[in-house]
Symmetry: C2
Subunit: 354 residues, 2 copies
């Protein structure tokens, strides 16, 4: 293991020099801006221009480090190659993962994006799309965010469940997810299952809960009223899962498994259970949702329903870019489904006989 030279400051590779405009470059070459523009953009009409002139232009552009002003170009060609992305907030792992997928796709296609967080605030939910539109984004990707405006440009909503003209929703197959989760617990012998429901502001809250109830009913399991927890508060920390679980325990109702709304709340739930002297998974199995990074390395490692968040992000981006490319003709689906996966780790085990 070599330590290597420390605090190396590599010589910068790119020389700077004040920005130079096309007009200045043209003056320098004693040519018109038109000619330079045609040549530099490989316009078809530039093939009447002799190679020698082209070479002069290219090499001067390189030497004087000419960089076209994207603002001016965008204004003229009416395309910004920029999207807006609206998320609840950046800190919660979920958004960051989706964003990661979005970025990976956009960067492939030369697009950039402006990020904005709405923090669940109504005023921002209304204002942010407006200011993004002022900034001439070509489309908007919303992540777990309610649409409070009439879309005047293409929109893809990750985990959106509203049916709105012009909005494509990228959503998880929740029925399948619930089948996987409840099926897994059922197969392990669990019959008394607690469920933690998400915050009211999460788009997936209702459908996830309903799907779970349905999957349970299918197996003749009913989720006792006392075993239904509710996540409350804004915090994106495990605390909300912790408190919800404490409340369930306080009812005295017995259960052998707990299906959390997501991994973060599952982690809080485990803490609450262990504080009460209950061991996971020996006494109670805990099932998470999402499969965030922390899930695999929690102790015990979380069994969870994986949402392909990165893929959902890149799918959203891909879809939006397609919408932009295929003007009009791409009537584009209103819903795109992605499939969940059951990831079995250490937080679930055979049910204890009550």
């Amino acid at each position: 293991m070599t330590l290597g030279p420390k605090n190396v400051t590599r010589p910068p590779v790119v020389k700077s020099g004040a920005a130079i405009s096309l007009k200045q470059l043209a003056a320098h070459l004693e040519l018109s801006p038109t000619t330079l523009s045609l040549v530099l953009n490989y316009a078809p009409s530039a093939n009447s221009i002799p190679q020698e002139t082209k070479d002069r232009i290219f090499s001067a552009a390189r030497e004087l480090n000419y960089r076209p002003n994207y603002l001016a170009r965008s204004l003229r060609v009416q395309r910004t190659h920029t999207l807006g992305v609206i998320v609840p907030e950046l800190s919660d792992g979920y958004s960051a993962m989706v964003l990661n997928g979005v970025e990976s796709e956009l960067s492939k296609q030369g697009f950039f994006y402006l990020t904005a967080s709405h923090l669940h605030r109504d005023d921002l939910l209304e204002k942010l799309p407006q200011v993004l539109i002022e900034r001439q984004v070509e489309g908007i990707i919303a992540v777990d965010t309610p649409i409070r405006f009439e879309p005047s440009l293409p929109i893809v909503n990750v985990s959106g469940h509203q049916e709105i003209e012009g909005v494509t929703n990228v959503i998880l197959n929740h029925q399948h997810a619930a089948e996987l989760g409840i099926g897994h617990l059922y197969d392990l012998g669990h019959r008394r299952i607690a469920v933690i429901k998400g915050q009211t502001f999460s788009s997936d809250t209702e459908i996830r809960f309903d799907s779970i109830l349905k999957a349970a009913r299918k197996r003749n399991i009913s989720i006792d009223r006392n075993l239904r927890g509710q996540m409350e508060g804004e915090s994106p920390s495990p605390e909300v899962g912790y408190h919800a679980t404490k409340k369930i325990i306080a009812t005295g109702e017995k259960f052998t498994a707990l299906f959390a709304f997501n991994d973060v709340s599952a982690i809080g739930a485990i803490r609450a259970l262990e504080e009460m002297g209950l061991s996971v998974p020996a006494d109670v199995s805990v099932l998470g949702f999402d499969d965030i990074y922390a899930a695999a390395f929690h102790n015990p490692a979380l069994t969870t329903i994986r949402q392909p968040l990165f893929e959902m992000g890149s799918l959203a981006a891909k879809t939006l870019l397609n919408k932009l490319a295929g003007k009009k003709n791409g009537s584009s689906k209103a819903v795109l489904n992605v499939e969940p996966t059951l990831i079995v780790r250490q937080s679930t085990a055979k049910a204890k006989i009550l």
Copy 2:
């Protein structure tokens, strides 16, 4: 707990209507664009214009939903109110936290930002600043990212350690951090301490390691060569900490405490230790770094050196905006220090007698 109506699609609040330009609005009012511009921007020279006319303008703008085109305005006034932010990647919690702080400050001041990930790739490290500059960002915030270009605009580097003209580095007081960490372990009686060193591409790797050695030496502790682990590979998962720890254990050299490069690697380290039948903290104390969300809810909860990542992000943003505002005069410090905090949780305990 009420379930509430499901799948509510609230009526959109903002009506759309195709975008209208200033010129069109002016035509509609039978006034010149100049007049509208002066009035709408509250220009001083507009106070000769009678209130009645102003009212007509304002109400027409509202009714026809006039939104100034930010591109056109930016081009004219030569300000974009946009920054570029370059991060290694988005998924790793660290960048997301810093970004969160950046955003919170920028949104206060009406700025937006374009995010770009360099993925530790040399070509991107050189290209990204260029394309951001083409897009007329007014400054760049780099996060844990080496500067490979001569700065032609204001730059703030979070966790940067290169001394470059025009670049302000926001850095943690590593000497203090090391004192806190080693001091804590020392006070618990630990004398044989393993240290996991960061990946070579992390800006903080060298200084953090050196500071730790120095703090140890000050207490007459030397860190055995066999107890120096190295994180290897690109992955932002705990796996790299896991493997580094396995290697240390394999040397057979005994130790009672381990100081990890960060929380993610600390989590991997704990897994490796437990796999070898060593209990944390009973047999080995593990100390993390950063205090990411997962730290508090890991099992055992991580004792860690907290970096105020959110604050570092907002400080970086604030500093950059100040640089932009105070043209020339703000000779602006080259280094801004922020202070670490020791957060004691459950992963450290009194040293076992060897």
